[in-house]
């Protein structure tokens, strides 16, 4: 083999650059902190309707991301969706009478859980359940409600006209 040193140096630089690129892709363009695993604590909340909420969605207070949705399941005892959230350990002063709602970020954005703090002096801890929840707004329900109320109005209007 000729020019072995140059070949080895070139290969070394190539491999280094390749792994640097991989490292960049994994750390810089994604949001999952490596080793987040067991830090923080879990809260659960039951919702009648979660809309398009997905695991990994942010949990925010006043717009600050304080945690993420860990898992979503269906509870057959009270027939509601159960959302498990992992809250960062540094946000450990969430009052126990806080309420959780599901919002949509922007018109096309993903859905997230917003927590509005209550006034209690005792704070939620690992495994606690948020009692006050507000479901996601499903656009189809809103539209159908609106249409039916319109149709109802017209129906009564037509009825009164008929009697006249």
């Amino acid at each position: 083999m000729r020019a072995t040193r140059a070949v080895e140096l070139g290969t070394g630089m190539f491999v280094l650059l390749g792994f640097a690129a991989l490292f960049f892709l994994v750390t810089q363009i994604t949001n999952r902190e490596i080793g987040l695993g067991d830090s923080g604590y879990r809260l659960t909340a039951g919702f009648d309707q979660i809309g398009g909420l997905k695991p990994g969605a942010p949990v925010s207070m006043s717009g600050v991301t304080v945690g993420r949705v860990e898992s979503i399941s269906y509870d057959f005892t009270d027939y509601r969706a159960v959302v498990v959230m992992r809250i960062d350990g540094s946000y450990d002063r969430i009052p126990e009478d806080s309420d959780a709602s599901i919002f949509t970020a922007g018109l096309l954005g993903g859905q997230y859980v917003g927590i509005a703090p209550g006034g209690s002096e005792t704070f939620l801890k690992d495994g606690d359940r948020i009692e006050f929840t507000q479901s996601a707004i499903v656009l189809e329900n809103l539209i159908s409600k609106f249409l039916f109320s319109k149709a109802g109005e017209q129906g009564t209007a037509a009825g009164t006209e008929g009697t006249n």
Partner: protein, 256 residues
């Protein structure tokens, strides 16, 4: 009429035989891989030939693909008033699709042809037969390092391509079109997950195996004439491109 049927049947049998040879050869290459790794010197030389020497074309193409993504993505997203999602669109497009696929196509054109013509010329000048005379297995000594080198180089090249492409998209979107840099990066971070990056890496590993196997197969089995070497080189590019696009669809369907 009977002649036509006979011709068709012969064609079908020939294609099936070719496919079987490909499969057997690839199986042998994969089976020999652990042994080839015991001689890292030969592999390193081939990682240099297929990987380091392809760097310039990969980086240049990545830059321009990223820049055109920035331009097109901006134009499209602006119509919906959500040009801040440009980072997300560019990163997902590059990491999951364009990075692995375009890298594999460029790899087939740059490194695959070099492998095929080198092996074809060895075959045409009886170097491979000479090795067999000396009881040196040419597959182990010549083919395996080239195959393994290609398989190692491809994922790294694809990662470099995606990284440069994201910077290219950022260059056009943020510097030229005025997308807010904070939005560009934070929306990207919010939407891209480790699974997306892994999908790209898995794809590029599979493409690396496919492209390298096709190149060494075509070179090793080329007709030992000047024309045969030329045909092997052409077939390498054609077969690799079609196989990469086909595999890309199947892998995407499986992993999405």
């Amino acid at each position: 009429m009977t002649r036509l049927v006979r011709e068709l049947a012969r064609g079908a049998v020939a294609s099936l035989t070719e496919l079987g040879r490909y499969a057997l050869f690839t199986g042998r290459l994969l089976a020999e891989t652990p042994r080839a790794l015991l001689r890292p010197g030969l592999v390193i030389e081939q990682v240099y030939n297929t990987g380091a020497l392809s760097l310039v074309i990969i980086m240049l193409s990545g830059l321009f693909v990223g820049m055109v993504l920035g331009l097109q993505g901006f134009d499209l997203l602006e119509r919906f008033g959500s040009e801040e999602s440009l980072g997300t669109a560019a990163a997902l497009g590059l990491v999951k699709e364009l990075g692995p696929v375009v890298t594999a196509l460029l790899f087939a054109g740059r490194a695959g042809t070099a492998l095929a013509s080198e092996l074809g010329l060895m075959r045409a000048t009886d170097q491979l037969s000479a090795m067999e005379m000396m009881a040196v297995d040419p597959v182990r000594r010549v083919v395996m390092p080239r195959f393994v080198g290609g398989v190692v180089a491809m994922p790294l090249l694809a990662a470099i391509f995606s990284m440069i492409g994201i910077f290219g998209a950022q260059l056009v979107g943020v510097q030229m079109m005025g997308v807010d840099p904070g939005q560009f990066w934070s929306q990207m971070r919010g939407a891209v997950e480790h699974g997306d990056v892994m999908e790209g890496v898995i794809k590029s590993c599979v493409f690396g195996i496919a492209c390298s196997a096709i190149a060494v197969y075509e070179g090793y089995h080329s007709v030992p004439t000047a024309e045969g070497v030329g045909r092997a080189t052409t077939r390498t590019v054609v077969v690799s491109s079609v196989v990469v696009l086909l595999l890309d669809y199947m892998l995407t369907a499986v992993m999405l």
